[in-house]
């Protein structure tokens, strides 16, 4: 129990002390995971909408693939991204391995299937004639689609939170493509793994707590937006 208690104390001290190394780790964690989530949304939202609304051969197979992707182990994604970015690999010339960019790419690859699958489910639960009805009230196609997104905002925000949760908590891909280089690619999860392996349990717990705090902060913001009145008076 002492270890746990010390961990809490260390976490508070770490946060209050303004330790530069810790803040670098926190900032990088936020930057990598938020950017990866944003990219996953940019890619996944249109793809999820197409899978949900368009009719084409192979649509269900694509949806099944996205659903499978939701459970993809980050280590596997990390492995593929590492191979791609390896010096002798197809994208080795870019020199991205062991950089935050590589971590963003890997995490975006983890989050995109989550976004596609949950966007598709979110849009499909709205009445199939919803867009026709909106157009039949004077909305053009873009506004009708925007209205559809507004109608599905609760599950869409839930999907965004799930995507962020998947990347901020993963360690396998961040470790493999980032390399856990201090001051460069060390994020909270990899830092916690390292601290644990060195027996610095209270430090590891401190990182864990900060990670939880960040996840809570981001999700609280999203939840507040999600729960706003849908159609303002």
């Amino acid at each position: 129990m002492d270890v746990l208690f010390d961990g809490f104390v260390d976490a508070v001290e770490l946060l209050l002390s303004g330790d530069e190394d810790s803040w670098t780790i926190i900032a990088l964690t936020l930057r990598v995971s938020l950017t990866a989530t944003a990219i996953a949304l940019l890619v996944g939202l249109p793809l999820g909408a197409i899978v949900a609304l368009a009719r084409f051969p192979g649509r269900r197979v694509l949806l099944a693939a996205a659903n499978t992707g939701m459970g993809m182990p980050p280590v596997v994604v990390g492995l593929f991204v590492t191979v791609l970015l390896w010096r002798s690999g197809p994208l080795g010339g870019l020199g991205l391995l062991y950089t935050p960019t590589a971590m963003i790419v890997a995490q975006a690859a983890i989050a995109t299937p989550v976004v596609i699958a949950l966007v598709a489910a979110a849009l499909q639960q709205v009445d199939p004639d919803f867009r026709v009805q909106m157009q039949a009230l004077g909305a053009n196609r873009v506004r009708a689609f925007a209205a559809l997104l507004g109608e599905a905002r609760l599950p869409l925000f839930a999907g965004t939170m799930a995507a962020f949760g998947a990347v901020v908590s993963e360690v396998g891909a961040a470790q493999m493509v980032g390399g856990n280089l201090v001051g460069q690619t060390r994020v909270l999860t990899t830092a916690a793994v390292l601290a644990t392996s060195r027996g610095q349990f209270s430090l590891a717990i401190a990182f864990g707590l900060i990670l939880l705090l960040i996840a809570f902060g981001v999700n609280l913001s999203l939840t507040l937006v999600q729960q706003q009145r849908a159609v303002p008076r």
Partner: protein
């Protein structure tokens, strides 16, 4: 209008004047909703032909501005009743305040003011459809498209909503197209009616005339003329059709054979198959040489006045209509073997 190689709908011409209502009456699967969506340029199917709005070819932006539609299921947005009612006006770029001012008289006319701030999730299906109709009217559309909006409502709600809609539309310059399978709705709301069967318009004219003058077996069935009397049974040139409520057993043997009206038919002999008490009426099924007939007698028929099942009866048919477009030769009565007229 086609989906792939399949022709869904073929309508040479259909016009609605502003201030008037056209009912498109048809059975399930006739293509009514498909037609309505095609007219509103809301369809995803391939449509060929022209849609004219005020005499000019309608483009999507023009049409979007001119029409509103009420679909069979009320599709409302999350939020309050008032927010939904103004949403058509908001799509047209109006400020929330202005839209509320414009929509308020419609909310009053349709009795929605007490519901204004209610969450739409707490509404009954009838209330939700009322919101959907008010939302469509609030825009003041040139063309109002109604896609079976009263289906699935209980009879009281339906009657109230039909009356309120009729009152709201009177004096408005809106051209309304109502698709429905219910001829009472057509009668209550529309000056003109077109009968759509199998993707084609079979009849088109003033509602009272169209509803009372079927031209072929399909339209007869649609209009409630479900009793079919082949020429062999009546001695007339053309097949006749009649409504069950105008078809009665002759219970008093002294009843004279001749009817009072030209469209009455000489009594038809047959055998009684069954009687079913329906509360407000009694249904009597009779088999004749020309096929089965259904009689509908108002109220309860005392069992003592009826012959036994299998006994001989005579049936009087009043207000029969001749299917002048159908050739009497080769006509075989019976539900499964009616000739399909075109």
């Amino acid at each position: 209008m086609r989906a792939g190689d399949r022709e869904l709908l073929s309508v040479p011409e259909l016009d609605v004047a502003s201030g008037r209502t056209l009912a498109v009456l048809g059975p399930n699967g006739a293509g009514k909703s498909t037609l309505l969506r095609a007219l509103g340029l809301l369809s995803s199917h391939r449509v060929s032909g022209v849609i004219l709005l005020d005499g000019r070819p309608a483009t999507r932006p023009l049409m979007r501005h001119a029409i509103t539609a009420v679909l069979q299921r009320p599709i409302l947005r999350r939020g309050t009743v008032a927010a939904n009612v103004i949403s058509g006006l908001r799509f047209r770029g109006m400020s929330r305040r202005e839209a509320r001012l414009r929509a308020w008289p419609w909310m009053e006319a349709l009795g929605l003011v007490p519901f204004a701030d209610r969450d739409i999730r707490s509404l009954s299906i009838g209330e939700a459809q009322r919101v959907s109709i008010t939302r469509a009217l609030a825009v003041g559309p040139k063309v109002l498209l109604l896609d079976e909006p009263f289906t699935g409502l209980d009879s009281t709600t339906r009657a109230d909503l039909i009356a309120d809609l009729r009152a709201a539309l009177s004096g408005q310059p809106t051209a309304t197209i109502l698709v429905t399978h219910d001829r009472q709705e057509a009668l209550a709301l529309a000056e003109d009616t077109a009968l759509l069967i199998g993707g084609r318009i079979r009849q088109h004219g003033p509602t009272t005339e169209v509803l009372d003058h079927p031209s072929d077996a399909d339209t007869a069935r649609l209009l409630g003329y479900t009793n079919l009397l082949p020429p062999a049974l009546t001695g007339r040139t053309h097949p006749l059709v009649a409504r069950p409520e105008h078809t009665h057993l002759i219970l008093d043997p002294s009843d004279g054979p001749a009817g009072q009206r030209d469209d009455d038919v000489r009594p038809v002999p047959g055998t009684l198959r069954r009687t079913v008490a329906l509360g407000i009426a009694t249904r009597v099924d009779v088999d004749t040489a020309g096929g089965p007939l259904t009689c509908l007698h108002p109220g309860d028929l005392p069992g003592t006045s009826l012959p036994p099942v299998g006994g001989d009866v005579r049936v009087r048919v009043r207000q029969a209509r001749a299917l002048a477009g159908v050739d009497g030769n080769g006509w075989t009565a019976g539900l499964g073997s009616r000739p399909s007229a075109s």
